[in-house]
């Protein structure tokens, strides 16, 4: 085995490429209502590796790995099944990164609110960290946990001791590579470091200190910027300064993927349509350039997120970019996550008044409908989120959201409801968790499920066109048929849950 002083890893729910289909990753948040082996194979099969050194790894682990190597530290991302071997072989620091350690984040926490079974990602993390715990008894190494959701450890403080966590690096939703490098250096030198490090906004990593990834990321995901100008109260990303990565940085990261055989990828940031802009008005030239660059190097290009308002500000830009990316042969559609969050103008005004900008907040429901129509016409498929139970939510707010979801039925999309979680670094981080499901919430949840059932089968066919996906496609359709069959029971259970 090659020798590394620092090993970076995570559990199988993240150390996978989900069969090359990023969207299947959401399946790992699902409670184990079907046999585990089937669910695990379908949503998070093992990733190819050589001596445990993985072919594709989560982007954030790749960035940390690159920063450590650039600092002269021998480090690599290792498959979770091989961590014991590398620790036994002398690794002195193990860095574990996750975005939902204990299933407290949405959508995991949404499912577990009413399904009394453990989610797959929670089970996989527990099994992984328990193996690490046993290793700590035998070998002398330090355990560092990091990532945007480490605040979850504060809700399980006894597990910090039980699992032997030495350092918690809380990046407040940002990238923390320079801090991580210094933490590792001190640990390797045998120096003390704080138990919990919370990286404040003034210490956000400046662009010039960012190091591009050296090896392939899961499904070719590369980040093109950090921060968000809209600063919604429930979200952590907007707390950070807006930084767009230059094209040559992005090109190097795409190259790292292409070089290792990842021929499609995802441009990741809070709003791809705002790339290169310092406001909420798109910079068309920059958006075209970054997409053109990606398409020139990859067969197909996906977007992690964009905003509905930015799409409507410049419809022509959306049409042009869609036309450029969706060539009909290598790429038939463009998937992207969008935030609808609510159909209530009052909720929008209270918690995310800048989300509809530059349009007035009163127009939000119309913006959502018009943007969905624009996307539908241009083969862009939004996977939209709805937040249920935001602080101050009233029955009429939920009813307005349910009506909006029903009006979105004609547009090819998925709409995922998420129960409000007071995530650490957000401005709502100290609010109460959403726990009280009322009958009108059930109406909204069922509207979202019906929307998904209406579109899912067609989307499976369009999302997985290649022959190599035949078995996965059939498995997903079987899974979908089970959900359809159980729909009446799901509603019945939700209604009895709401009444109780």
């Amino acid at each position: 085995l090659p020798r590394f002083d620092v090993v970076l890893s995570t559990d199988r729910s993240l150390m996978t490429n989900h069969h090359g289909k990023e969207f299947l990753g959401f399946g790992t948040t699902m409670p184990l209502i079907l046999p585990r082996r089937f669910i695990q194979w379908l949503f998070c099969p093992p990733i190819r590796h050589r001596d445990g050194v993985v072919w594709q790894a989560p982007y954030s682990l790749r960035r940390a790995e690159a920063a450590l190597v650039a600092a002269g530290i021998r480090a690599a991302v290792i498959d979770p099944d091989y961590v014991p071997r590398y620790v036994a072989d002398g690794a002195r620091v193990l860095i574990v990164r996750h975005h939902d350690w204990f299933g407290l984040n949405p959508p995991t926490s949404t499912w577990t609110a009413f399904i009394d079974k453990e989610p797959l990602n929670v089970v996989l993390f527990r099994e992984f960290i328990e193996r690490v715990r046993k290793l700590k008894d035998r070998y002398d190494f330090k355990l560092v946990v990091t990532g945007p959701a480490v605040w979850q450890w504060l809700h399980k403080p006894h597990l910090v001791e039980e699992y032997g966590v030495d350092v918690i690096v809380d990046s407040n939703g940002d990238r923390e590579e320079p801090v991580l490098v210094n933490v590792v250096r001190r640990l390797l030198e045998g120096k003390r470091v704080p138990k919990y490090i919370k990286v404040g906004v003034p210490d956000s990593t400046p662009m010039e200190r960012m190091v591009p990834i050296m090896h392939a990321s899961v499904n070719g995901l590369v980040e093109i910027g950090r921060g968000c100008p809209r600063r919604c109260a429930f979200c952590s990303v907007g707390q950070r300064p807006l930084r767009w990565y230059p094209l040559d940085f992005i090109e190097r990261e795409i190259e790292a993927n292409v070089r290792e055989g990842v021929d499609s990828g995802i441009l990741s940031c809070t709003d791809v349509l705002l790339y290169g802009s310092s406001s909420v008005i798109p910079n068309p030239e920059a958006v075209i350039k970054v997409n053109k660059l990606a398409k020139s190097m990859w067969r197909s290009v996906g977007w992690s997120h964009c905003t509905l308002a930015a799409a409507l500000v410049n419809r022509r830009l959306v049409e042009d970019v869609a036309h450029m990316l969706i060539d009909g042969e290598k790429q038939k559609l463009l998937g992207v996550e969008v935030g609808v969050e609510s159909g209530s103008v009052e909720i929008m005004r209270k918690h995310m008044p800048a989300k509809p900008r530059p349009f007035p907040v009163e127009k939000w429901p119309e913006i959502v409908e018009q943007a969905f129509a624009l996307f539908h016409e241009n083969n862009i498929v939004p996977a939209a989120t709805i937040i249920v139970g935001l602080p101050g939510e009233r029955e009429e707010d939920v009813v307005a959201t349910t009506e909006l979801v029903k009006r979105l039925r004609p547009y090819r999309s998925l709409i995922v409801p998420m129960f409000f979680v007071p995530m650490g670094p957000s401005r709502l981080g100290r609010e109460e968790w959403f726990r009280r499901i009322k009958p009108y919430h059930v109406d909204l949840l069922m509207a979202c499920l019906d929307h998904a059932l209406y579109w899912a089968e067609r989307l499976i066919d369009e999302y997985m066109t290649e022959k190599r996906f035949a078995i996965v496609r059939r498995a997903l359709k079987w899974f979908l048929s089970r959900v359809k069959e159980y729909r009446p029971r799901v509603e019945e259970k939700l209604r009895s849950f709401a009444e109780s």
């Binding site: 006894h158 320079p178 001190r186 003390r192 470091v193 138990k195 490090i197 919370k198 707390q239």
Partner: protein, 95 residues
């Protein structure tokens, strides 16, 4: 502020060192951080003597709510260890 002078050991060049007992009221700790931040401290070392899980549990609202200053929470098992930690420079982690 009177209470603060008991606990804020050093406050210089944008850094503060706050040392509190394990049973410190989280609201008071938060107030100390707020004042130190208002005085221009970008980085705060918080030293606590106590059991890890208990300290993390008690200070959860303080840590979760902390967005502007960078916070380093040191947990010591004894007063002697805590005193030794006072020489540690949080700034080195951000060099």
């Amino acid at each position: 502020v009177d209470t603060l002078s008991t606990y804020i050991f050093a406050l210089e060049e944008g850094k503060a060192l706050i040392r509190v007992p394990e049973d410190a009221d989280p609201r008071e700790v938060e107030e100390m951080i707020r004042i130190a931040t208002a005085r221009g401290c970008k980085r705060i070392s918080l030293v606590v003597v106590g059991r890890e899980s208990r300290v993390l549990d008690r200070l959860r609202p303080v840590i979760k709510g902390c967005i502007v200053p960078t916070l380093g929470l040191w947990i010591a098992s004894s007063e002697e260890e805590a005193s030794a930690l006072e020489d540690e420079d949080l700034g080195e982690l951000f060099a």
